[in-house]
Amino acid sequence: MLDKLIQFSIAKRYLVMFLTLIIAALGVWNYQNLPIDAVPDITNVQVQINTEAQGYSPLEVEQRITYLVELAITGLPYVESTRSLSRYALSQVTVVFKKGTDIYFARNLINERLQQAKSEMPDGIEPVMGPVATGLGEIFHYAVHAEKNALQANGQPFDATALRTLQDWVIRPQLRLVPGVTEINTIGGFEKQFHITPDPTRLLAFGVSFDDIVRAMQQNNANVGAGYIEKNGEQYLIRAPGQVADIAAIEQVIVTYSQGVPVRISDVAEVGFGKQLRTGAATLDGEETVLGTAVMLLGGNSRSVSAAVATKLIEINKTLPKGVSADPVYDRTVLVDKTIATVQTNLLEGAVLVVVVLLVMLGNVRAALLTAMVIPLSMLILMTGMVETKVSANLMSLGALDFGLIVDGAVIIVENCILRLAGRQHHLGRILTLEERFQTVFTATREVFTPSLISVLVVILVNLPILALTGVEGKMFTPMALTVIMALLAALVLSLTFVPAAVALLLTGHIAEKDNVIVRGAKRFYAPVLEIALKLRLLVLGLAVVFVLFSGWLATKMGTEFIPNLDEGDIAIQALRIPGTSLTQSLGMQFQLERAVLDVPEVKTYFSRVGTAEVASDPMGPNISDGYVMLKDRQDWPNPDKTKAQLIEDIQQKLALAPGNAFEISQPIQLRFNELISGVRSDLGIKVYGDDLGQLLTSGNEIAELLGGIEGAEGVKVEQVSGLPILSMETNREALYRYGLNVADVQDVLAAATGGEEAGLVFEGDRRFTIVVRLTEQLRSNLTALERLPVPLPQGGYVPLGELATLILEPGANQISRENGKRRLVVSANVRGRDLGGFVSEVQEKVDQKISLPPGYWLAYGGTFEQLQSASERLTLLVPITLVMIFALLMMTFGSAKDAALVFSGVPLALTGGVISLWLRDIPLSITAGVGFITLCGVSVLTGVMMVSAFRDGLANGKNIDSAIREGAMLRLRPILMVALVAALGFLPMALNTSTGAEVQRPLATVVIGGIISSTLLTLLVLPGLYRMAFRKPRIAVENAAAIKS
């Protein structure tokens, strides 16, 4: 079949060219739709359901909202797990769906169920699904900023409320329209509210209650449409306006008549603009600000979306009042551009090097160019493939591409074609006829096609274990393996179709087949060395074995890391304070931090989100702040060569100046990913499920104590569930009966006084502002004043709140976490200096023995150990299978276990070079380096197969073993060198580059280059000797060679 394909390609070469052109055009078109980002998206398919409940404490949120939402989504199809979080004023339920579930389908399912749940929830509570976005969604942050002397229309300076109003009603509505933006999230400032703050004494004096004010507002603030009338042939619409428009109008609303005298709101209360009870705030360089975040729709192209947002923002800025501007503070485009630029440079420089190698080694411009054409063509096919398989273009997915590797197949085919064409010409002494040329190209292609097919198959095989990775690792590396496989397949198909067609089309006329200086030099040098290597083959082999053992030992001594971190250029600092820290206090401490860090000369700006934003994609308490430190361009640094690590150290020193904060330093995208994937990030997490928080905590502490005593446990932590100071009002029922009051009467008074009660809206065009009835700040925050709050009595008169209830300050639940429908508490630990599996089984055994849980409570084990175990199990199974499969493949090719084993022997030696080069460059082992090793396997098999098949051809042609080896080796020197050179040089820019993103690719490239050097040496020097040693029965070899030829 393959023969037919090659023959067809040669015969219908113009058609093939045309088809190639179409496919290339398709690739160009697909490239426009290819999502581009800096790193792969590792978010799972999840839907967040956020429900805001102003004033509700964690316990009430859980009981009245979270539970209902969880109940509603129970039993949905494709759900993998649910987890929830109930904290002050917010319920968040996260539903994780199975991999591959369509997010819109999932949201539809949830939406349907939520409608039912809503009816059972308290009035005015509305569960909302989070934006359709992933962890990479936050692509653009901007801060709304006013100059010091800028004034509002009413002559006041712009305060946090005014800026927030601009953000909410001018900037946000416009930005939301930018295609690809799913949400503009806001944090900081205060929503403008109209506040009616009654004076308790005056309320008493007029016998008016909170409720009376609310009711009066509701009944005096509506426009009514009243149909139409016809008059003299005309139609008159009727409306009865009655909305209040401003403070003065609110003040005039009449609350009640007291003995014929109207009591207005202004008689019993102050009316003014007030501040909402906010759950989050934003800071910029030590001052409050309003921060907007553009969230990209799932599957969008972050570069184009954030560029569009930036452009739109410039437009919007023109419409803002004088002195006010919305300035970008974080723009993903910068990072993506830098990363993509790095990848592009690497690929481009690699490609150029490859072309140069081809030119030099082949000495034929046409041949070199047509081989090089395979690079862009396979790239374009890859684009189509990536769009089809929904793999985004990023550092990881494009990072493992090596053009050298891609053109390897084409290189050997073209090289052999030139060799054979020139040979035939030389033999016939004339230029070939069309028929002869086609015939030669076909046989030449066919001759070396097997090695290139096998090498591609080998690379695909070794990539299989990577495809089997699950979880975060899988999301990181599957795209990498997929792109490599796709690119190789594309190149393979091209070298079967396009390459022979192009060779047949282009390599006309006289073809000079004489080695150029370099190849001649190499051959001259190689011949004697080969002689020596053959003579001292036992010694050479011994050395090779020692070498393998040495680097195996070296590998165990090297440091390891998961994947090298992409340096995002900027720094994220999460500052944590103790739970219960108020927003104001937290802000104050954040200001201190920012001012300190701004003293570092490399820092451009430092902005933070404190607490939870409007859309609670990340529900943080007010005690936590996510800070982003944006750095200046390197050339503006006092010392442009300063390392990132050093800079972080400087920043840490400054951070230490502000006590009371704990820090976690990471990078913006990294931080967001960690928040989204969450779950248990420690090695081992023991989850205790049950009903009573106290019991959970008791059991949790027992387990923590037990864990601490087990060898290897480190950083044992019990999830922090309490510690939030709560002021709870316990009503005295007897006192209530005495006065003829209900519990609700007292609760309402407290709620209205401290939380406030909404009493309608004030409209200003599109803008709408809430009217809130609430006590003044001074009274709200004063415990004694709260105790004196008058509670109106049904029979007239009042009684102070303190008579009816006791106010108690006590620590309470900070947050309530649930998983799969039950409360849970996590005890987590990391493991050091011990194997994880052994540790976990010891823990399980001891916990079973010593911890007894009450009925209705149970334990579950989780944590990264699960992934680690499953990954290890998969790999333990898959890696040997893969190796066996490679071996089987080779055996099928050669029909000889011996030859297959000989080719296989190249693999460990190739790996040694990789290990040593890593060690020389002081780069730790990582999965990216592992991918490099995988690539190496392919290259070493390719060269091995080429070499061994040349030996066998020689034998088949009746040569004796020594001359077959010698001639075969000399014949293959050029293609092997070429293959090695293109593969190694293709990765050279990647290994040396230092710009953004290079650190992720560097280990891979280093491994491949080092490995190729050792693998080439092996193929050229050790393999011939080895073959000679293994050579016993020429008969088998001849037979097999004949078999392979046919």
Partner: protein
């Protein structure tokens, strides 16, 4: 070396290499998720001078201070019942002349009306016995006096403030305590003393009335007005007081952060009386010690920050 042998060795080598890769990968993954724990010295919080300044931590010496403990209550202004005069005619007769109308101020001894007695037909005048204001008048010329009250004169030069005391407050309040009274909008204030606490209560509101006599020379207090009042429960000098913002609650106990040589120590204290500004310490601190006033919360946060986390 036989074919079989070389075959085996090579295959083993290959498996070995594969396993090495596996090992590397699993080790690399095992490294994820480790974070370094910072050791923390128990007991004292050590801060450098720089940190103290940057965090804005304020220090003060423990010393004596005045504590003015007050009880805020509501009340209403009432007429001083001892300063009300209801005037009627001593001898029945017809009214010849009336000189004062409602609202007119009268002085003691001033004539209010002239009456012609029915029996003696003598005329006599009715006079005011107090200084005050006419609040009621039931007398017009020509009318018979009968036995009714012709005028009510009220003296507003001092009034009662009747304060409602609820059961809980009752034990704290006693006669002679100083009271400061504010009008509803706090524009007018006056000082007085509790002169009387009613021995009986109100059935509906379950309150006991305490009475304060206040001067009202220019009539700013009108009976019927609602008022707020603060009863001074104590106004004494305590030997050891700290500012209220210094108090933090750590593990359910009140503590004050005390500066010592080794650093700041969270010292548990027992609290005595307290007012809006300072609180008396009964135990825990001795005189001359330096304690943290402003931003004491930062120290509390510094103590507990190791446990701070961002859970989901």
């Amino acid at each position: 070396m036989t074919l079989q042998n070389s075959n085996n060795t090579l295959f083993h080598k290959a498996v070995l290499a594969g396993c090495a890769f596996l090992l590397i990968t699993s080790q690399a993954m095992a490294e994820v998720g480790h974070d370094d724990e910072e050791e923390h010295e128990e007991g004292h919080i050590v801060l450098t001078q720089e940190q103290i300044e940057h965090a804005g931590i304020g220090l003060a010496q423990v010393g004596s201070g005045t504590i003015r403990d007050v009880l805020p209550v509501y009340g209403v202004i009432a007429v001083n019942a001892e300063r009300v005069q209801s005037v009627s005619a001593r001898f029945e007769g017809s009214i010849l002349n009336v000189t004062k109308s409602i609202g007119n101020p009268v002085r003691k001894g001033e004539t209010l009306a002239t009456i012609e007695a029915n029996e003696s037909l003598n005329t006599y005048s009715i006079k005011s016995a107090i200084n005050g204001v006419i609040t009621e008048r039931a007398a017009n010329v020509g009318e018979q006096t009968a036995s009714r009250a012709l005028f009510v004169i009220k003296d507003f030069s001092n009034v009662w403030a009747e304060l409602s005391l609820f059961t809980k407050d009752l034990p704290k309040v006693s006669v002679d305590q100083e009271v400061r009274i504010h009008s509803v909008n706090s524009t007018v204030t006056a000082n007085g003393k509790i002169v009387y606490i009613a021995p009986y209560g109100d059935r509906n509101s379950q309150t006991i009335t305490a009475r304060v006599l206040i001067d009202n020379p220019d009539g700013r207090w009108s009976p019927g007005q609602f008022i707020q009042a603060e009863i001074t429960l104590s106004d004494t000098v305590a030997p050891l007081v700290v500012r209220n913002e210094a108090l933090q609650i750590v593990e359910g106990r009140s503590v004050v952060f005390v500066q010592e040589e080794k650093g700041f120590e969270p010292r548990p204290v027992t609290l005595g009386r307290s007012d809006g500004e300072v609180t008396e310490l009964l135990t825990g601190l001795s005189g001359n010690e330096t304690y943290v006033t402003s931003n004491s919360f930062i120290l509390k946060s510094e103590m507990g920050k190791e446990d701070a986390e961002h859970g989901h």
